[in-house]
Subunit: 267 residues, 2 copies
């Protein structure tokens, strides 16, 4: 695996955002390898405290990377960015229901406060660098994501269950995958669960709630990480009048190197 120099990686990130702004679609796993990716949730100012507190109380699922006050659309994580246009797809929520999926959310950003939350796509590059396969990238699919029966800590009017992403990992590499991802708590860190979907209330791996179905091969174990779609589960459950999020798997690609979130400094 060739690892580009930082400046080339940043150039790829900027190019990706420009392409999404111009209308390109598709999930972002594997895009601009080595760069940090982020989930997005934007709510009216009246709900911003509840969402920020929900993130604060559930840091494994909702590690906050940046917050844009109402009226701001450029993230400090990516100079020149516009969070209304630079993601490949957005979901529009009204009263806890997705009413629309749009490639450009400019029309919706009147008084929205935006939270950017770390995404596990970020640590896929170090996993690949260690020779651990990332199946959904191999297959050109979106990562499978599942709603669990594990309640998050409520905050204000918000409550909801944890959402997880799943990657099948060869049994003899699970420990390595835990160690590697554990170095990156800002993008969900170590897995929350290894091996038994039923223990999380997941009825069938073949029917993810978001993203594409997985392919788990013989000798592989399903490994589950907390997922930044967790705030969307809280929107479903708590029904704020309005919100905009990224479409699951369709992330904000930032200019921040993944290594900047490695708490061990190993990267």
């Amino acid at each position: 695996m060739v690892r580009l120099a930082p400046e080339e990686r940043r150039r790829e990130a900027r190019a990706a955002r420009a392409a999404y702004r111009a209308g390109r679609r598709g999930p972002t796993s594997g895009v601009a390898p080595g760069m940090t990716q982020a989930n997005l949730v934007a709510v009216p100012a009246d709900w911003a405290f509840d969402v920020l507190l929900y993130a604060q109380r559930n840091p494994r699922a909702c590690p906050v990377l940046d917050v844009l006050e109402a009226g701001r659309v450029e993230s400090a994580l990516a100079p020149g960015s516009d969070v209304r246009t630079d993601l490949p797809a957005y979901l529009v929520f009204r009263d806890g229901v997705v009413v629309e999926e749009v490639p450009d959310a400019t029309g919706y950003w009147d008084d929205l406060v935006t939270l950017l939350i770390g995404c596990s796509f970020t640590f896929e590059t170090p996993l690949l660098a260690a020779g651990i396969p990332v199946r959904h990238q191999e297959l050109g699919r979106n990562v499978p994501m599942y709603r669990t029966d594990r309640p998050c800590a409520p905050a204000g009017r918000l409550r909801g269950d944890l959402v997880v992403s799943m990657r099948p990992v060869p049994a003899d590499r699970v420990a390595d995958a835990v160690a590697i991802t554990g170095r990156f708590p800002a993008v969900h860190g170590a897995p929350v669960h290894v091996g038994d979907p039923a223990a999380l209330g997941i009825a069938s791996l073949d029917s993810p709630d978001f993203g594409d179905p997985p392919v788990v091969r013989d000798g592989e174990v399903p490994v589950f990480w907390a997922c930044g779609v967790t705030p969307q589960a809280a929107l479903f459950a708590s029904r704020p009048p309005f919100a905009v999020t990224h479409a699951p798997g369709h992330m904000f690609v930032t200019d921040v190197l993944d290594s900047e979130y490695d708490v061990t400094g190993v990267s």
Copy 2:
């Protein structure tokens, strides 16, 4: 130094809160050794997002330990507590000015959202256990605290400069003090500065902005830690219509052992 068993330490914390509720006054350094202490800042719901975001963006000065939504007065850090009465003294702010210091703030808590922020008094017990003197405790004084010229990251309508606490440390123990306090990021962690008050914009150590003047002995170095009075500096600078805080040095004594915030698990 005798270290009490956890249940005895919790009993001391509960007894301290009960005494403050009944009217006892005085700073809390050295009270209920081995227990976590917290700063308090409470604002109307309309300002809660700004304060929480200010804390989020300035985690060294404002590490959030607990947040109580409007209408709540019992902290999860101390079952049975009442944050309106269980601190020895409170400051009442109107339009960025302290208008009153009160021993009981019950009358003010209509719709206030309360943040509890880690306090460096917490790591004084491990410092003492390592044989590092804590001068203000020796002298029965409040810790000296200073406004600096270092701006914090603004958030919403809030801006302000960093406030620091200072402890004189024997030069040959400064490295130990750094290592010990660095294990406790939730109560401000390692010092932000060692040795030169002028570099922080502090004109004279003898004239602290809060607390009591220090006594620095020959061979001792002034060591500065980020302080949970930092939100009060933001209230002065940003003038929200109303707020209540603890009086500097007069903290909320919790039922949480200091060891629970030791990220190394050494305690």
